[in-house]
Chain length 87, copies 2
Amino acid sequence: MFVILTYDVGEKRVNKVRKKLKKYLIWVQNSVFEGEITKGKLQQCLLELSRIINEKEDSIYIYEVNTPKFITKNIIGQEKSLDDMFL
Amino acid sequence: MFVILTYDVGEKRVNKVRKKLKKYLIWVQNSVFEGEITKGKLQQCLLELSRIINEKEDSIYIYEVNTPKFITKNIIGQEKSLDDMFL
């Protein structure tokens, strides 16, 4: 499936969250990861994230689309490529 | 159509961008708006945004899904409700 994952996480935890997400998805904008991922790997990823975040303060949204052809992405301004950034 | 719009915009312009987006979509996370919108209104919204942002620095991604049933949203942690926030 294709996943868009957006996060709003406290400063103390944001680097841990990004490092974890980089194992599974592609970092495409400051607060956005996306990519193809299996259901099983996504569940593993979310389990690991839930151990890092503070569920009372932090927020992670996961938008899942079964078939990428159902979703179109357009860009205004820069297409960011953060995935090579060292954390 | 259903739209997820994510942005990474310079601090000087971020409030203007949010105010503009609030006219068209729902503010659901710090850097994310979403909602049902017609093709025409979306084009108008993006035109207005393109006049605010610095295309060399800022980044706006627009993910469009024709039918909302193709997309599933899951949440870890808090579901933010920023739409009532006064800008």
